[in-house]
């Protein structure tokens, strides 16, 4: 693979394989994420979407294959994992906020400790982001005192506070009230408008269809089908994709 081709994508996966014990969770997964695009990973629970995101952030060590971030192989054992993670923001399904810190401390932890941003500057940016997500009044609260939807928005702000090169979103709306889903999705839409590169695992098919430049359907740890949202949702080629989308549609989520 030439250096030139690697440079063109923010994230690139090649033949990634991941097993837990004897179970193969990801098999020969290839993925390319171009700058300023949104990639949606869809598929049933347990199809490997979350694992794929965790591998991209080196939270899971892959068994085989390779992953590049901005043309640099991050799965090379010689790579500095912390340096890689500094450039990637992650929002988890279960928020994963630090319960012993206030909202503001949660958000400013990484900018201050990892990126060396001055306290005043870090807090200013945190407040600005909180304001934008409608959480301006919650800066001093502790996470356990917020609703699930509020916690998830704080988690998004925490990921954004370090101005990541790539944002990984793992089912971020799975636990939100319908009206909050809209709010959070507006945030993601805005981020796309600002050119943020994102990979998101989601069950919100309508949103995936609207916002994603590329849609990947995972099934049994394999990327069974991929293409533009129009292709995958409009005229899926694989029987399994059609079946999955039909089930989702029956459940009223498309």
């Amino acid at each position: 693979m030439s250096e030139f081709a690697e440079q063109s994508s923010v994230l690139r996966m090649e033949s990634v394989r991941k097993t837990f014990g004897g179970t193969v969770v990801l098999r020969d997964v290839d993925l390319e994420v171009a700058p300023h695009t949104v990639t949606a990973l869809i598929g049933a629970s347990g199809s490997g979407k979350s694992t794929l995101l965790r591998c991209a952030n080196l939270l899971e060590e892959i068994d085989d294959g390779a992953i590049w971030l901005d043309g640099e192989e991050i799965t090379d054992p010689r790579a500095d994992q912390d340096a890689v993670r500094r450039r990637i923001g992650v929002v988890f399904q279960a928020y994963n906020l630090f319960p012993h810190m206030t909202v503001l401390e949660n958000i400013t932890l990484a900018p201050r400790r990892v990126h060396g941003v001055a306290r005043a500057e870090a807090e200013e940016r945190a407040r600005e982001l909180l304001e934008r997500l409608g959480l301006g009044a919650k800066a001093g609260e502790y996470p356990d005192r917020l609703s699930g939807g509020q916690q998830q928005r704080v988690a998004i702000v925490r990921a954004l506070a370090v101005r990541p090169r790539l944002l990984l979103l793992d089912e971020i709306t799975a636990a939100l009230d319908p009206e909050l889903v809209g709010e959070v999705l507006t945030v993601v839409r805005d981020l796309k408008g600002e050119g943020m590169t994102m990979v998101l695992a989601t069950h919100e098919m309508g949103f995936a269809r609207e916002v994603a430049d590329q849609v990947c359907f995972l099934d049994g740890g394999v990327v069974l089908e991929r293409g533009t949202a129009e292709q995958v949702f409009g005229e899926p080629r694989q029987e399994r994709t059609r079946r999955f989308l039909r089930r989702v549609m029956d459940a009223g989520r498309l």
């Binding site: 837990f20 085989d64 054992p77 319960p99």
Partner: protein
């Protein structure tokens, strides 16, 4: 672009394992693992070298100290060590028995006190207050004073049917003090379990007792193991204090020989015997907790 990859170039097309091509590690993986092995070997070599170097340095410093020949004679005399070892071992049997009996009693009593302190509801206020008073008092009272009061004070009462055996009384004193410590360890563990866990258990209709038994305590125990072990090792060493009532344990046995010979080697022997007793216990609990973690970690049940 639609890509369906059932078999990549790296897979062996002849294989049929679970419906896909049998997996063959890529050269990339083989290279990566070779690098990791090489790095592990290098780390081991560096660790061995630095350990050897540190050991040699310490040895040279001690051996070249001006008082070394004399110190060696007084603290590391082989003859005295040989003489002391069987007697120290015999004394150690008392420590071991005390440890086993007191340890079990402390765990039970400590757990009861901890549960008493975390009982909710106004009815239990006196129980909570009593448990709190108990821990406050016996944690604050120096162990040696508890021992003297129990071992020397109780026989002085000349009560009918109450033992005057210093070992039994000493064990009681140890249990009183260590139950207070261990109760606090248990309580901290119980309270460290996130309230949402108790809420989830109660919402399923479990009673407070059931929630504690099936949800809170199992999670708390994992975090309590290292501090519990700390207290157990500490208890093991403090069992020697029953010798103030006249019982002969490992330290006292060494003490007797030292008093006779004015050579300190028996102390070293007794110390090493205690360390030798602690290490397997630590390794065992490490193994148990590691096993608990492995079963819970991602990958155990994908």
């Amino acid at each position: 672009m639609t890509v369906v990859k059932e078999q990549s170039g790296q897979d062996n097309p002849g294989g049929t394992r679970d419906g896909h091509g049998a997996y063959v590690p890529s050269p990339r993986r083989i290279e990566r693992e070779a690098y990791k092995r090489a790095r592990a070997r290098r780390a081991t070599a560096i660790a061995a070298l630095s350990t050897l170097g540190t050991g040699a340095l310490l040895y040279l410093i001690v051996v070249n100290a001006p008082g070394w020949p004399r110190t060696r004679e007084t603290f590391f005399n082989w003859e005295y060590a040989r003489e002391a070892f069987p007697q120290v071992l015999e004394g150690l049997w008392l420590n071991v028995r005390l440890l086993l009996v007191c340890g079990a009693a402390v765990l039970v009593l400590g757990m009861l006190i901890a549960i008493a302190r975390t009982l909710p509801g106004p009815v239990f206020f006196p129980v909570r207050a009593l448990a709190a008073a108990y821990t406050d008092f016996f944690r604050g009272l120096p162990l040696i004073i508890t021992l003297m009061i129990v071992v020397l004070g109780v026989p002085a009462l000349r009560l009918q049917g109450v033992t005057v055996d210093p070992v039994l009384l000493g064990g009681t004193a140890l249990t009183l003090t260590y139950s207070a410590y261990v109760a606090e360890v248990f309580r901290a563990g119980i309270e460290s379990v996130h309230p949402s866990q108790r809420a989830a258990a109660r919402s399923l209709g479990l009673t407070n007792r059931q929630a504690l038994r099936h949800v809170v305590l199992p999670q708390a125990v994992r975090r309590q193991v290292p501090p519990l072990l700390n207290d157990l090792v500490s208890l093991q060493k403090d069992t020697g204090l029953v010798s103030i009532g006249g019982a002969v344990d490992a330290v006292r046995a060494a003490d007797i020989i030292v008093g006779r010979s004015l050579n300190y080697t028996p102390y070293i022997v007794a110390g090493l015997v205690f360390v030798a007793l602690t290490i397997p216990m630590t390794r065992f609990t490490d193994w148990v907790t590691a096993r608990m973690d492995r079963r819970r970690a991602q990958g155990g049940t994908p």
